[in-house]
């Protein structure tokens, strides 16, 4: 049920955003992105929200897709091709364009585990050697530079990415995320993803 409402909401967001974004739709490159990431760049399962993301992070991910170091199943299926022929300049201007769109929170996590997720995010779980996300991602999960904004991303996206780190995907990214995420249980991942989906 949740997904049906999500799709309806996303479809509504697309139709609302199309008119305001019409001026940008002239750019074929942007439209290639918004086919999947939605017209307002707020994301559409499984494609993450790009609105408000840090340009350096987006640029770096596009390089990772091009070099195949970001190797999750959806990355392989969609983003390897999409990023293959993107010049560095085009990647930068797309990254800057999406970063300037105000992000909206997905608000689609499980509210019952938000408090657990907040605790893990803000102070970690020292007994289980789980680091506090806040140190790098910031108190409002806003990120900085190449460190992504996580606040308000979709629950399913956050959950999948956190699980993938622990499964060995994107290992070439190097420390610290593969190790940090592999320390998390599935319940802790669900709690973190739920918490973050509501962060504005």
């Amino acid at each position: 049920m949740k997904y049906i409402w999500l799709k309806i909401a996303a479809a509504a967001a697309v139709s609302l955003a199309v008119s305001s974004a019409a001026v940008h739709a002239e750019s074929a490159a942007i439209r290639n992105c918004t086919w999947c990431h939605s017209g307002s760049a707020q994301g559409y399962t499984p494609a993450p929200r790009l609105a408000g993301q840090h340009p350096k992070y987006i640029e770096k991910q596009l390089v990772n897709f091009r070099e195949h170091t970001r190797d999750g199943p959806f990355s392989k299926q969609y983003m390897w091709g999409a990023a293959a022929h993107l010049s560095a300049g085009a990647a930068r201007s797309l990254a800057i364009y999406f970063s300037t769109i105000p992000p909206k929170a997905a608000n689609d996590g499980d509210r019952e585990v938000v408090a657990t997720g907040r605790e893990i995010y803000q102070v970690g779980v020292p007994d289980s050697n789980i680091a506090a996300c806040v140190a790098c991602h910031g108190p409002n999960a806003q990120g900085v530079g190449e460190i992504p904004r996580l606040g308000g991303l979709a629950y399913t996206y956050l959950k999948r990415r956190l699980e993938q780190w622990g499964q060995g995907y994107h290992a070439a990214a190097g420390p610290p995320m593969p190790h940090i995420a592999s320390q998390l249980s599935l319940n802790q991942i669900a709690a973190l993803a739920s918490y973050l989906s509501f962060v504005k």
Binding site: G124, N129, A132, C136, Q142, G143, P175
Partner: protein
């Protein structure tokens, strides 16, 4: 103690140092106690290698694989080559709210004294290149301040306590290779971040007059010099 005494003699007329005069013997006693405690801990290593390795990997998640530090949303300090006594004292400072920091207080709460000694020894033995990143054009000015102080502002040479190579000594931290934004944050927030528990005075009061006397450009210059120092 020798370093602290020589520092005191540089600024004999200052008010804070008169009270420092009364506290210093206790500080000395505290340092001796810590040194003694650390020695006896090392004799009784009651913590398994696998527990140390797991905890070390957890520290490295934030402080970098070789303890070189990391520029996250907050600057996460370099621990590589750091004095064991300094790390021990700071970890206790987080627990005792002398250094209020929700993340590190949580981290430090679950560390046994044996674990602290084991981790601090691991980090002391790492020797990665500094992350650098400070403005190069400030290095020469920073080096002058570090080695000679700022006589007109009554700021003693940093080298007097931290050593000519900024390697530190027991509770006095190594500064060589420390992150540029971290050094600036600490020096400009000294009296908001350190020595915050009135019931538990600590050695951080020694730095307060220095941190207050340095101007922002001087802080940036010293930080630039240290951030690239091997």
């Amino acid at each position: 103690m020798k370093l602290i005494n020589s520092y005191r003699s540089l600024r004999p007329e200052e008010g804070p140092l008169q009270s420092a005069h009364r506290i210093l013997p206790f500080v000395g006693l505290a340092i001796l106690t810590i040194v003694f405690a650390a020695t006896s801990r090392a004799d009784a290593a009651a913590v398994s290698n696998s527990a140390v390795e797991a905890k070390l990997a957890y520290c490295q998640d934030c402080h970098g694989p070789l303890g070189q530090g990391y520029r996250g949303f907050f600057p996460i300090p370099r621990l590589a080559g750091q004095q064991i006594e300094y790390l021990d004292n700071q970890l206790r400072a987080f627990v005792e709210r002398r250094r209020p920091n929700p993340i590190m207080s949580n981290v430090a709460h679950v560390l046994s004294p044996d674990m602290i000694t084991a981790l601090a020894t691991k980090f002391r033995d790492f020797n990665p290149k500094p992350l650098g990143g400070g403005p190069k054009e400030l290095v020469a000015k920073g080096e002058r301040i570090f080695q000679d102080g700022v006589p007109e502002a009554n700021v003693a040479a940093c080298a007097a306590c931290h050593g000519p190579k900024a390697l530190g000594y027991e509770q006095i931290p190594r500064l060589a290779g420390q992150l540029y934004p971290y050094l600036i944050k600490e020096l400009t927030n000294w009296s908001k971040e350190r020595g915050q528990n009135p019931a538990k005075p600590d050695t951080s009061f020694i730095m307060a007059p220095v941190a207050h006397s340095l101007t922002r450009p001087q802080v940036e210059a010293v930080a630039a010099y240290l951030s690239d120092l091997k």
